[in-house]
């Protein structure tokens, strides 16, 4: 008994020792009310391209917080990095919507006081409290950038602009269709069915009952023989549109712009059924060792300039509406190209990725979770 107690005492001592440099951001459960002096270091788990020198260097200079970033290859990678080893190794993670809820429920990330982030009030309303990073009015991180999942098509193969997601389920396009290889893709099909088969009663494409998921899976199984390739990397789809014989597919603005730059005749459309999208959030580890630097980072990265720099560099849309002007300064027309100045209703219409969970708010806890989605996806791909 005595030894165990000693271990507890030692652990507590370590925690205290770690917390002392963090004075200024109090960690006793309550939200910090001010940001103290930086700890000189900030460790991040990020998507590749999210910590480029052009916007990280000015931050380091301003705050003295040296940024160390580890790139994650997938949402799951991010989740594992933030939860394994106690999760104290990294201060922040640029989680996408399909991981953020899991991080919140796993207790890996902490609530953030958005009042300490001045640019927050300049966000489009849709990104101030999106359901993939805000639970019960508590903000677990700060929205960063987003992108819609659009329908891309070859303008020579489709002289008439397709207006419905139906095009990627149409046997006429057999062998020309490319689809992302990701279980979250099930949501795209669910969104399509929610409009074309209202009898199924799908209201949220991420909250599917067993019967609804079965209907979606059967649609996607019918789609499989039509699919040229389930692509894993954006570059795969770019290849396939360049010289792989694919003329239509579910895609991101990044591919559309890359292909246009390469003079491939492509265009994209947001079909009438609506689109899904991804939204990334900088989340703060619940065991962050450098919380002051983390808050400084959130303050910095949401400012118009770094927002615009990252948007133009990566090909995504900033959540700060003031970034539009700077985007156009950096690359002419980029603000409109990435719809960074669209009306609020556009952002509201995008169904952003979120982790499918059993407890989906209908009170019955009978929704299919990510595990069921992944199994379904394996079945769909065969």
């Amino acid at each position: 008994m005595k030894r165990i107690r000693f271990v507890h005492v030692a652990l507590a001592a370590i925690v205290v020792a770690l917390a002392v440099p963090a004075a200024g951001v109090s960690k006793a459960g309550a939200l910090p009310t001010s940001v103290g002096k930086g700890e000189g270091k900030l460790t991040l788990v990020a998507w590749e391209g999210y910590t480029e020198k052009q916007w990280v260097a000015p931050f380091e200079k301003q705050t003295g917080c040296k940024v160390q970033a580890k790139y994650a290859g997938s949402s799951n990678d991010m989740f594992n990095l933030m939860t394994s080893g106690g999760g104290s190794q990294y201060d922040m993670v640029s989680a996408s919507g399909d991981a953020s809820l899991r991080l919140i429920y796993a207790g890996a990330v902490a609530e953030v006081n958005v009042n300490l982030i001045p640019s927050y009030k300049d966000f489009y309303k849709a990104f101030q409290s999106p359901s993939n990073n805000t639970v019960d009015g508590k903000h677990y991180g700060i929205s960063l950038q987003f992108g819609p999942n659009v329908l891309m098509y070859n303008t020579e193969a489709f002289p008439k602009k397709p207006t419905s997601w139906g095009a990627i389920y149409d046997p006429k396009n057999k062998g020309k269709i490319t689809i992302p290889d990701n279980p979250i893709q099930i949501a795209d099909a669910a969104l399509y069915l929610s409009k074309t088969k209202p009898a199924l009663g799908i209201t949220d494409p991420y909250e599917l009952t067993k019967a609804q998921l079965a209907a979606v899976v059967s649609l996607l199984k019918q789609q499989r023989p039509l699919v040229k390739k389930y692509w894993g990397l954006a570059s795969d789809q770019i290849d396939l549109f360049k010289n792989g014989g694919s003329t239509i597919g579910a895609s991101w603005p990044y591919q559309v712009n890359t292909l246009k730059a390469a003079k491939v005749p492509v265009a994209s459309v947001s079909p009438k059924e609506g689109v899904t999208g991804w939204l990334d959030t900088w989340m703060l580890s619940s065991k962050a060792k450098h919380p002051n630097c983390a808050y400084k980072w959130m303050q910095y990265i949401t400012q118009p300039k770094p927002q615009a720099q990252q948007a133009v560099y990566f090909g995504e849309t900033p959540v700060n509406k003031k970034a539009c002007k700077i985007m156009d300064q950096l690359a002419k027309g980029s603000c409109a190209q990435y719809s960074a100045n669209a009306p609020e209703s556009y952002y509201r219409s995008i169904k952003f990725w979120k982790t499918p969970i059993a407890d989906c708010g209908n009170g019955k806890k009978n929704c299919m979770d990510l595990r069921a989605w992944t199994t379904a996806w394996t079945q769909i791909k065969g």
Partner: protein
């Protein structure tokens, strides 16, 4: 003759610990052997066997599907799930492709290795052997990606076919493409053991066969081929097991309906965060290889490695 005590210790002037260890081990040969092999055995047990055991144990656990944490409650659910669709199809597909790749490699490698051993001049042999292993110096990814360029509808394959007045062959992103790419990538692993096996056959055997009236084909069938079987079996272990575990080629050159065992393991580890099921599923190729190795041992594969 009186014994000079100094002579007795000649050649071993030092006493001490080392010498007593040496004396001790000489008296107990069993312990000596143990001492000599214990380090490699320990490395084998701790690094290799322990990793496999950890894998097996994990297969009996489950993960909390939401938090992704491993729940250490013992059950057989993961192993039962393997029998559910679509997993049996995927296992059979993997076996089919592995077998097809192995047979193709054998058919290609045997005449090639025979040519190297019996026909080619020493200089040509060296050049060809280097050319055979040369692709192994290039990254695996580069080799797979280069096949994508070849097989694309606008790629080199159709360019050649059209030049010959033949119609297009669109096999990019199909199981045919996987078969081709695997055959290409694992080919050197088949050639080298077959080459080694053929090289060991003394030429006098061929002469003896001829003396006894065996013509070329008879000699090949009744002398050379039986003696080459250990080499073919050894090569097949490589081609078969490497295909069984691969997940990169299916994701890069495979199409819809090209999931292999490796793909499922990777998806469960990388996307679903379901390590226990991935572990359980990984025992399938392990079991297949155990059976395969026993079969190949009967054919003498291990004498030719």
């Amino acid at each position: 003759m009186a014994t000079d005590p100094a002579l007795l210790t000649e050649g071993s002037p030092r006493g001490g610990a080392l010498r007593s260890v040496s004396r001790f081990s000489w008296r107990r040969p069993g312990l000596k052997t143990f001492g000599q092999i214990s380090a490699p055995v320990a490395a084998f047990v701790f690094v290799y066997v322990a990793a496999l055991v950890a894998l097996l144990i994990k297969g009996f656990w489950t993960t909390d599907s939401f938090t992704g944490k491993v729940v250490r409650s013992w059950n057989l659910d993961n192993f039962r799930t393997i029998a559910d669709a679509p997993y049996p199809t995927i296992v059979l597909r993997t076996l089919g492709i592995a077998a097809a790749v192995t047979v193709t490699c054998m058919v290609l490698a045997f005449p090639y290795a025979y040519f190297l051993v019996r026909v080619a001049s020493p200089r040509l042999r060296l050049v060809l052997l280097v050319a055979t292993v040369l692709p192994l110096w290039v990254s695996y990814l580069v080799r797979v990606y280069s096949w994508r360029l070849i097989l694309n509808p606008d790629g080199a394959l159709n360019w050649v076919l059209n030049g010959l007045g033949l119609p297009d062959l669109n096999i990019a992103y199909t199981n045919w493409a996987m078969w081709l790419v695997f055959t290409y990538i694992w080919f050197p692993f088949m050639v080298l053991p077959v080459y080694a096996a053929l090289e060991r056959i003394p030429y006098s055997y061929v002469e003896a066969s001829a003396d006894l009236g065996g013509r070329g084909l008879t000699t090949l069938r009744r002398v050379i081929l039986p003696l080459a079987i250990p080499g073919l079996a050894a090569g097949s272990i490589f081609t078969f097991s490497l295909t069984l575990g691969d997940y990169i080629a299916p994701s890069l050159v495979g199409g819809p309906g090209s999931s292999l065992i490796g793909t499922v393991v990777f998806d469960n580890l990388g996307l679903a965060n379901n390590a226990p099921f991935a572990a359980a599923f990984a025992t399938v190729p392990l079991a297949i290889m155990a059976v395969y190795l026993v079969l190949m041992k009967r054919l003498g594969a291990f004498e030719s490695l």
